[in-house]
């Protein structure tokens, strides 16, 4: 009885979570195995693994998997992570005004709504946009970035938007390294790169792990940014899995197939999430 009354406050949250989160996930796992469509067909029927078999034979799906991989590796693993670490460690040595200004700019890019960020970078990469103006000014060849290298453009956009997160995580981690250790190494004559490689990186490896995991998960589910910049195009050359899922489910009205793709995305996300929990090894 007492246990029940103590558990009561959890009820509202639990009801919402079950109805609007666990429910849809379970429903997702169900309709991924049906041929549910938006129009034309009144009843849907159970089709087993058909959707998944279709997916792995579908070139457009494989293209989306490949592009998701490129997008994630370029923007999250390489871009946000490395740039975030570089910014954080430069900030350790920079003068205060520079630190404040740079931090402010990078964080503003992060706080902006994703659609606004999408427009800003759309303007930046367009043929008549800022990037080409800068390249012209430097006498470098310009090109229509959103047409020639759409996946690269959206990856850069994601780096622009997401780096602040890594920067904050690494700044916090670097601040926790005792000064004496780096100073001792410095007096012993270890150069910047060696200190980074042998002292700093091993000491912040937990932060690196969690940061990579969270970046990857966030990047896997990016939709608005790419939608605004390219709609997945031209053709399907920047169509990552979330955009592919949307196209199949709505533009082609194949909810079942679109959901199968969603389920795969969810499974990949869950695996990352489990690794993340392992890394945290949290004492709940």
């Amino acid at each position: 009885m007492r246990a029940l009354s103590r558990a009561l406050p959890v009820a509202p949250a639990l009801v919402l979570l079950i109805l609007f989160l666990a429910g849809p996930i379970a429903y997702c796992a169900y309709i991924a195995f049906t041929d549910l469509q938006l129009t034309g067909q009144a009843e849907s029927s159970f089709t087993g693994f058909d959707n998944f078999r279709t997916a792995f034979r579908d070139e457009a799906f494989l293209n989306a998997v490949w592009l998701t991989l490129v997008f994630t590796v370029l923007s999250s693993l390489v871009g946000q992570n490395t740039l975030g670490l570089a910014l954080a460690s430069l900030m350790q040595r920079a003068s205060k005004p520079v630190r404040t200004v740079v931090g402010g700019i990078v964080i503003t890019a992060w706080v902006l709504p994703e659609v606004v960020a999408g427009f800003l970078l759309y303007a930046f990469f367009r043929r008549e946009g800022t990037l080409n103006a800068v390249l012209d000014w430097l006498h470098l060849p310009s090109q229509n970035w959103l047409f020639t290298l759409p996946i690269l453009a959206v990856s850069f956009a994601n780096v622009w938007r997401g780096t602040a997160f890594s920067m904050l995580v690494y700044s916090a981690a670097l601040n926790e390294i005792p000064k004496e250790i780096t100073e001792a190494a410095e007096v012993d004559g270890a150069g910047g790169w060696r200190r980074m490689w042998h002292i700093t990186l091993p000491m912040i490896r937990r932060s690196i792990g969690t940061n990579l995991m969270l970046n990857t998960l966030q990047t896997l589910s990016v939709f608005g940014l790419i939608w605004v910049m390219t709609r997945g195009g031209p053709g399907n050359r920047s169509q990552t899995l979330p955009l592919f899922m949307y196209e199949q489910a709505f533009q082609k009205s194949m909810i079942g197939y679109g959901t199968a793709v969603a389920l795969l995305l969810l499974v990949v996300g869950s695996l990352f999430s489990l690794v993340y929990m392992r890394l945290l090894r949290t004492e709940v």
């Binding site: 558990a7 996930i25 200004v101 740079v102 503003t108 709504p113 606004v116 303007a123 410095e186 995305l265």
Partner: protein, 281 residues
């Protein structure tokens, strides 16, 4: 002495190098931001960053109309405000027993919550749409509010519980001996003591939802229910050629609330406030 001096001068050189490196990156980061600010003031804005041909507020005048700005912003406010309120209330209630009482169910529940915080919610939007069509929640504000709340709850509960753990239990025990119920002690003692924590959860949930595009894009259909994150799309398409100056002006109006909220909370709690609960575990 000499060794110290070389160390110091080396440090100076290094500081200048770090400053230069940071300013270079910042220059690259600032270009898209400069575009939105300069174009909003430019009577003939294009896609390129350039100094305006004369400063004007015409772009703001042009978008400050009910159908372009006020209705979508009001929709955003209703949507995100209600969902934030619901999130904070449910998270505070749920966090309380998790933080205060020992139970065998705490650990599995918290692990499930932690697991759910990092699921890609984007992935379930298609089944959520299909489900909402069947239960007649599609194109309703309340359906969207409930889904928004559910999607923020795992992280909000997690964060709230971590902040609540920081409030010592002794303070409540006194109140309990005086006959206060746990609900009263949550309301009168725990929540006021973790004010900054509640502020963080509130601001974080609100900012996340204010900027979210995919959820209302999928779940709302009627144009006059659309929040700003979706209505901003109307600048393309429907109205023929895009007036970039107006798009920029609208972007600024739409982004200002979240930037202000961030500054407000970040000032008070220092840099990576939102990450405290998430990354340290």
């Amino acid at each position: 002495m000499a060794a110290r001096r070389t160390l110091n001068s080396r440090r100076d050189t290094r500081r200048h190098a770090a400053d230069a490196g940071l300013l270079f990156v910042a220059a690259a980061f600032v270009l898209p931001l400069a575009w939105v600010v300069l174009s909003a003031l430019d009577p003939r804005a294009g896609l390129k960053v350039k100094l305006p041909d004369g400063v004007t507020l015409d772009n703001f005048d042009a978008v400050l109309k009910p159908e372009i700005t006020f209705t979508p912003l009001l929709n955003s406010l209703i949507l995100c405000g209600s969902a934030t309120l619901l999130t904070v209330v449910c998270a505070a209630l749920a966090a309380y027993p998790l933080s205060r009482f020992r139970s065998r169910l705490n650990r599995p529940f918290l692990l499930t919550i932690l697991f759910a915080t990092s699921l890609p919610i984007t992935a379930i939007m298609v089944p959520v749409y299909a489900l909402f069509v069947q239960v007649n929640l599609i194109d309703t504000m309340r359906g969207t509010i409930f889904f928004f709340t559910a999607s923020q709850l795992p992280f909000a509960i997690w964060l709230m519980k971590n902040f609540m753990d920081g409030v010592p239990k002794e303070l409540e025990e006194a109140a309990w001996t005086d006959g206060a119920s746990s609900f009263q002690s949550l309301l009168r003692i725990v929540l006021p003591l973790m004010g900054p924590g509640v502020a963080v959860v509130t601001v974080f949930a609100f900012v996340m939802m204010w900027g979210n595009f995919f959820v209302p894009f999928m779940l709302l259909l009627t144009p006059d229910q659309m929040p700003a994150s979706v209505s901003i799309n109307d600048f393309f398409g429907n109205r023929g050629t895009v007036v970039y100056g107006q798009l920029a002006a609208f972007s600024i109006i739409y982004s200002t609330p979240v930037i202000l909220l961030y500054v407000l909370v970040a000032r008070r709690l220092g840099g990576g406030f939102a990450l405290g609960g998430a990354v340290k575990g």
